[in-house]
């Protein structure tokens, strides 16, 4: 029903996802990417130095 999408999708994700399986655990690659990115952003937020600002008494 997407009809015309002149404004969208350089990469078409409307294709079946790949899945990672490990024992009973199954996760789609896109979901896995989101979780990994969350961890990366969290770690980066802790490690990247925050700019020093002026002290106020």
């Amino acid at each position: 029903m997407t009809g015309t999408t002149p404004l969208g999708a350089i990469f078409d994700l409307n294709v079946p996802a790949h899945y990672l399986s490990w024992h009973f655990i199954q996760i789609s690659v896109p979901n896995f990417v989101v979780i990994v990115l969350m961890i990366v952003v969290f770690v980066a937020a802790l490690l990247i130095p925050f700019p020093k600002r002026e002290r106020e008494p």
């Binding site: 029903m1 997407t2 009809g3 015309t4 999408t5 002149p6 404004l7 969208g8 989101v34 990115l37 969350m38 952003v41 969290f42 980066a44 937020a45 802790l46 990247i48 925050f50 020093k52 600002r53 002290r55 106020e56």
Partner: protein, 231 residues
Amino acid sequence: MSAPAHRPAKAERTMWTTRVRERAVREMPPEKLLPDRQPSYVSSWIYVFGVVTIAAFAVVVASGVILGLKGPEWWHLTGLGHFVNSMHLWAVEIFFFAMVVHLWGKFFMGAWRGGRSRTWVTGAITFLVAIGAAFTGYVSQQNFDSQWIAFEAKDGLNAVGIGSFFNVANFGQMYTWHVILLPTVVVLLIVGHVLLVRRTGVVPPYAARLAKAPPAATATAAGAATGAEDA
């Protein structure tokens, strides 16, 4: 005869309006409500994720309002409609993304210490309510995804009796939850959450690892170490 401007007369002090105003100003003076400075320890990128969550929520609401006003035909069948629909979805993804990073940060800071437990509690409830808001959005899309999610979720909800009152296959009902009720609850929770933070100030760091506490600070340090970590 006039009372001094800064001090209400006796009659005024018994007025409910006056009392509400005075209390509000006392608890939340403007420089506390919107401070232009923070304690020196506020020096990490992790602090920005609460604000990023608010920003993402604003984009969710703005794109959602446009979708609601234009309607399902528009969001399914026109290019611009589908574009705004996509923005709504990605804003939701960023909202949850930022909220989870924020939540992790607050957990590792033990940010509920020193009478701040209500901040954690309102945050955690916001997270759960937001999941409900997203869920009702998924079933309001009017596509295959909605059909399937409604079909699967009904069994879970029916099994605990919720399905008798919360019918996932009833579009009108789900849409009402999604566009009015749950967003309103999320907004109220966010406002309460942020006001609580402003009232208590951001949580100070855990005690430092120094061999010996200076005498003046021993009492509080002992407190922090022995269990005043709950509310």
